[in-house]
């Protein structure tokens, strides 16, 4: 009996020694929809990693408050009080930029989930432990332009752009305009105040322009008023194309959403094995399916980190970083591997424009319609508005 105990204890001790324990800081705006989705994804991924038994991931979650004044002390706490060596975070570009100073000071392995602005790319250009998973803003522009080229080939010639006058809507507007004009489009752009709910004046003005595409860049609150008032004023574009960071909850159930198109990095209906697996696991853990692509993004980060830690066989951040740089894995977005960014400023860029897909609200759900190799349904063009 005594011998059995000794063997058991030795086995357990051996197992615990073989297991790599990682203490990972998670710094996200958990009061926002995207931040909460990202956190859910990270937690789900960590659970999967822990279930494998080779790596044990302990998450220390801190709210970055979506503001530099909260995020900077929060990161400092993660590094000096919680003593983590690895941080998953950086959703909003402005906040992530503010974190660049403390990150360089404390030197964690920083796995960046969002922060698409190339200003952030510049800020982290000299930091070797920066892994950026999300595509950069120029990738986003490239993906959207590819779709617009397709529409041009199908007869669209005039684009009316409605953009909210904040950083989100205004950031790439000049680039979009120039690029669309280069493709042969005639463009008219009008700013609006997000959340105002009143678009009839602008839309009526646009009637004289007779746009083929009404392209709006704003927030979820603007989606329904634009859909409704476009019909009210009789604008009749061939396509309404929206680019909010998140679509309103339940928008697909409203008949006004029908035929409206948009861009996302992922949908639950994406038909690849990893996506289906993610949807199943997510539904099992949270009792629902999410449309937020930040959820699978968080999941992918946790899984890739687990895989790198397993390969490194150590919790040392540099050994993990070296293995992460070599990671090649299938994800709900498609294959993931790290390469230098297109501008060459950062060394480890995960996804690029290839993860973006165009969808259309069709009969009460979002269906991938472009690029053709990922389309579940043909694009309805012209749409019926």
């Amino acid at each position: 009996m005594k011998k059995l105990w000794v063997v058991l204890v030795t086995l357990l001790a051996g197992l615990s020694l073989a297991q790599t324990t990682l203490r990972v800081g998670v710094l996200l705006p958990i009061s926002t929809v995207a931040g909460k989705a990202a956190l859910n994804g990270v937690q789900l991924g960590a659970e999967q990693v822990n279930a494998s038994g080779k790596v044990r991931m302990e998450l220390v979650v801190v709210d970055d408050g979506n503001a530099p004044a909260t995020a900077v002390p929060a990161l400092t706490k993660l590094m000096t009080v919680d003593r983590v060596d690895i941080v998953i975070g950086g959703l909003a570009s402005g906040v992530t930029f503010a974190l660049s100073g403390p990150v360089k000071q404390y030197q964690p392995l920083f796995l960046c989930i969002g922060a698409a602005s190339s200003v952030v790319e510049q800020a982290f250009s000299d930091y070797g432990r920066f892994f950026h998973y999300h595509p950069w803003d120029y990738h986003n522009v490239a993906a959207a332009l590819e779709f617009f080229k397709y529409l041009y080939d199908n007869g669209a010639r005039r684009v009316a752009i409605l953009y909210e006058d904040g950083p989100f809507g205004s950031a790439g507007i000049q680039t979009y305009r120039q690029q669309l004009e280069r493709q042969g489009y005639t463009v008219q752009a009008e700013p609006f105040k997000s959340g105002s709910g009143s678009f009839t004046a602008i839309l009526t003005r646009l009637k004289a322009f007779r746009p083929d595409i009404l392209y709006w860049i704003g927030y979820d609150v603007d989606a329904l008023p634009i859909a409704a008032q476009t019909r009210q004023v009789g604008l009749e574009p061939k396509l309404i194309y929206g680019a909010p960071p998140a679509w309103p909850v339940g928008f697909e159930k409203n008949s006004l959403s029908n035929d409206i198109a948009g861009m996302t990095a992922w949908l639950p209906s994406v038909a690849n094995a990893e996506s289906r697996r993610f949807v199943t696991l997510y539904r099992r853990k949270f009792g629902e399916v999410t449309d937020e692509y930040m959820a699978p993004m968080g999941y992918v980060i946790a899984l890739s980190l687990g895989r790198a830690a397993e390969a490194a066989g150590s919790s040392d951040k540099d050994r993990i970083a070296a293995e992460l740089a070599k990671v090649q894995m299938d994800t709900p977005f498609g294959p993931l591997s790290f390469k230098p960014s297109d501008t060459g400023r950062t060394r480890y860029q995960g996804f690029n424009q290839s993860i973006w897909l165009q969808f259309q609200y069709l009969e009460g759900s979002r269906r991938p319609v472009f690029p053709p190799n990922r389309a579940a349904r043909p694009l309805r063009f012209p749409g019926n508005y």
Binding site: I30, S31, K36, V61, V62, D63, G65, A67, P68, A69, T70, V72, P73, A74, T76, K77, M79, T80, V81, R83, S93, G94, F97, A98, S100, G101, S117, V119, Q122, A123, D165, G166, P167, F168, G169, S170, A171
Partner: protein, 300 residues
């Protein structure tokens, strides 16, 4: 006494044995000092009876002016430039609006904030909507540089607040607040009092913005000119105690401390508790926190 104790503690904080919490506490304290300093600046103007919603704009103007001029001028002159730009803006705004009272003045200052934000958003040299990277204080040569700058701005704001809590200027502001017509009859140069107070208050707000920029190293129009900042600037003195020095000083530290503590302890949903505490404080402490310590209204 409270003000002196807080300032002494702020000076000594980096040398206290805070263990592993040191860096976090210094970061949190720094933002709390800036919140208190902006609240002190707002309270100065409130003493002359003006309810300003422009302090977010003064903060933003100071932040952008300091950030843009720092590479050429260096840290301290850039901060001074930030304060002066904010003061100049307040002077121009004051000339146009100081004849307005109460809510009308508040709405005018709110409109001013929106105009400033939009201008910065549209201008090319400010980085527009993409934002503006900022160089650290003293080019990063002193790790505690921005901390001591925050302490200095807090000390300056508290000093000005104390100075204006005494003597003729204090009575002139109080008389203006309580009734401009009567104040004029008493010989108070009402317009001059209001303009100078506005300028001084905006100058301090601009300084706070400059130090904030050099700590966060990045500015965006929505962060720097946010209405939330203007609201915070008025909530803190109401919570701590209006028309006092200790009130905004203590209020800022407690509000930032409470928010940070709740965020760490509760996580999601902490804002519910935070809001509840503020509502209760405003309901049951009409004289603010300092009302607990003293029965009379007035200076601290």
């Amino acid at each position: 006494m409270i003000a002196a104790a807080i300032l002494l503690l702020a000076l000594l904080l980096p040398s206290l044995p805070l263990g592993e919490w040191r860096a976090f506490l210094l970061d949190t304290a720094q933002f709390a000092f800036l919140t208190s300093a902006l609240a002190l600046a707002w309270d100065l103007l409130a003493r002359s009876g003006q309810l300003s919603l422009a302090h977010g704009a003064f903060f933003g103007l100071g932040a952008y002016a300091a950030a843009l001029s720092a590479p050429a001028l260096g840290t301290l002159p850039a901060l001074l430039a930030g304060g002066l730009v904010a003061a100049l803006a307040s002077f121009l705004l004051g000339l146009a609006t100081l004849r307005l009272h109460g809510m009308y003045f508040a709405i005018a200052t709110l409109a001013f904030s929106e105009v400033m934000r939009t201008l910065v958003l549209k201008a090319q040299f400010t980085g527009g909507s993409i934002g503006l990277p900022v160089q650290p204080a003293f080019s990063g040569a002193f790790p505690l540089g921005s901390y001591y700058l925050a302490v200095a701005v807090l000390a300056l704001s508290a000093g000005v607040s104390l100075l204006l809590s005494r003597g003729r200027w204090h009575y002139a502001m109080a008389a203006t607040r309580q009734g401009e017509a009567v104040a004029r009859v008493l010989g108070v140069p009402v317009v001059r009092v209001k303009l100078l107070t506005f300028g001084l208050s905006a100058f301090l707000g601009g300084l706070v913005g400059g130090v904030y920029a050099m700590k966060t190293l990045f500015l965006s129009p929505y962060d720097a000119f946010g209405l939330g900042r203007a609201v915070e600037a008025l909530v803190v003195p109401i919570f701590g105690g209006l028309y006092t020095t200790s009130g905004p000083l203590l209020g800022g530290l407690i509000i930032v401390g409470l928010e940070t503590w709740l965020r760490l302890r509760i996580g999601e949903g902490y804002l519910v508790i935070y809001g509840l505490v503020l509502i209760l404080a405003i309901l049951f402490l009409p004289r603010g926190l300092v009302g607990l310590f003293r029965k009379g209204v007035g200076r601290a």
